[in-house]
């Protein structure tokens, strides 16, 4: 087994601790997940009436409806997960610990990602039952993972910012949506392509774009998170 150096081990330990803490708390209260889930289902319901999801249009709009749902439900989760840290001063508690701030960021990002993936994995079968489309395609799951990674990478950083402002709850979507547009476009296109059985070479550019976005924004968040939490 490879021997990690001590700072790396400390970093991973702190990341795991933060993520574990969020998941353990959520597993017990299920406040955040149930809110995200109910909200997601409501969004789908509204889309049903707004778009008249008949058999013909369904094929082409499914990926758009799904991603809009994920993105809206996602902000709910991101907001809540940061508010928990801010409300009882827990953010200070995290910052008082002798760990790298980036480890705190990664811990929060991982738990946010897990929440989002759980919601997505529940929404997908419900959507396929409601609209009689098969969504179980491994490549689609891959795209959903890549899109969610990019979304939570930026979302966690911006939620950490918005929670420290006066207008916190309303600010997050306003900050997040314009910078997350590349993810939205690429994820919608890639998922749509997969669902409509495009040839793989037409889908690849979108997947590459998602990968590029994920790499860039994870690294940037890693570098600037300090500036967001320090005083």
């Amino acid at each position: 087994m490879k021997k990690w150096s001590r700072p790396v081990k400390d970093f991973l330990r702190a990341t795991r601790a933060v993520a574990w803490k969020d998941l353990a708390a959520e597993l017990r209260s299920r406040e955040l997940l149930s809110a995200m889930l109910v909200f997601a289902l409501l969004v789908i319901l509204i889309f049903n009436f707004a778009l008249e999801l008949d058999v013909k249009t369904r094929r082409s709009v499914t990926s758009g409806v799904l991603w809009a749902t994920f993105i809206f439900a996602g902000t709910l989760g991101l907001n809540r997960s940061m508010a928990v840290e801010k409300d009882r001063g827990c953010l200070d508690g995290l910052l008082l610990a002798p760990v790298d701030r980036a480890a705190i960021y990664f811990g929060k990002a991982i738990s946010n990602l897990v929440f989002m993936l759980i919601v997505e994995m529940i929404v997908l079968p419900i959507y396929s039952v409601l609209y009689n489309v098969s969504l179980f395609e491994p490549r689609l799951l891959g795209v959903i993972l890549l899109g969610s990674v990019g979304y939570t990478a930026v979302g966690t950083l911006l939620a950490a910012m918005s929670v420290q402002t006066r207008t916190r709850d309303v600010l997050l979507p306003i900050l997040l949506f314009p910078v997350v547009i590349p993810v939205a476009i690429a994820a919608v296109k890639a998922s749509g392509g997969i669902l409509q059985a495009w040839p793989m070479e037409d889908i690849m550019p979108w997947i590459n774009l998602l990968l590029v976005y994920d790499v860039i924004f994870i690294s940037v968040a890693f570098m600037v998170f300090d500036y967001v939490v320090e005083e």
């Binding site: 795991r16 601790a17 803490k21 353990a24 708390a25 017990r28 508690g93 008082l96 610990a97 005083e231």
Partner: protein, 240 residues
């Protein structure tokens, strides 16, 4: 002997507003210093700087022998902080909260240490209960447990009595005295002069961003703390 906390000409500005203006402060190992002062004098700001949560604009700050903010990680390892907010997660049990913070600090033999700390703050029986269900006083005791978990050399208390009733406050006194203060260096801010008078070995008055006066309990010479406090503030006003 090198002091446990040494602050030289500390200045802190928020934008253009100067909160601390060239503050000098020293605490020897084992001292229990109460930091008193009117609202807005900069007590919380000062404590947050000592706690490495806020960066000094200018000046030198050393805590437990390490420079802030350059050696913040080393300071954090040796520092326990209790604020008026509990810094605990309501949806985790008492034990889980301690386990989480224990992991953040990388404490060895964590299970044994958690048992020990829960015993010390008198919450062993409630260890599996959600912190959400705790009274304010119990939360504050657990907060002290959280702060001493990694056996810090220096303890900082920021208004720990806020929101506590008399009984809870008395109980906190007890825990504070036996658990947190013993053998440690303590700095505490509080409005409650009577309570502080019984606990601290030295009193420092923070006013207009500087330490206006500091007196050891032995040197109060019959004067009570309240009178000393009032006199200091009045003198400060007269000279200003």
């Amino acid at each position: 002997m090198t002091p446990m906390i040494a602050v030289r000409k500390l200045v802190k500005r928020f934008g253009l507003k100067t909160v601390l203006r060239g503050l000098d402060f020293e605490v020897q190992a084992g001292e229990f210093v109460a930091l008193v002062g009117p609202n807005g004098a900069g007590k919380t700001t000062f404590l947050r700087i000592l706690a490495s949560l806020s960066r000094p604009t200018m000046g030198k700050v050393r805590v437990a022998g390490y420079e802030l903010p350059a050696q913040a990680a080393a300071v954090r390892r040796r520092l326990g902080v209790v604020s008026h907010q509990p810094l605990l997660y309501g949806d985790l049990t008492a034990e889980e909260n301690l386990r989480f913070y224990g992991r953040m600090y990388g404490i060895p033999a964590l299970d044994a240490r958690i048992d020990e700390v829960l015993e010390l703050v008198g919450l062993a029986a409630r260890r599996r209960d959600l912190v959400r269900t705790f009274s304010r006083g119990m939360q504050q005791r657990l907060a002290i447990g959280r702060a001493v978990l990694h056996d810090p050399e220096v303890m900082l208390f920021d208004e720990p009595y806020t929101g506590l009733d008399q009984d809870a406050a008395a109980m906190l006194d007890e825990v504070l005295h036996t658990v947190a203060a013993r053998g440690r260096t303590v700095v505490m801010t509080s409005h409650d002069l009577a309570r502080v008078e019984a606990l601290a070995t030295r009193f420092a008055v923070l006013s207009h961003g500087v330490i206006a006066a500091s007196v050891r309990r032995d040197n109060l010479a019959g004067e009570n703390l309240l009178d000393f406090y009032r006199r200091t503030l009045q003198e400060g006003q007269a000279s200003a």
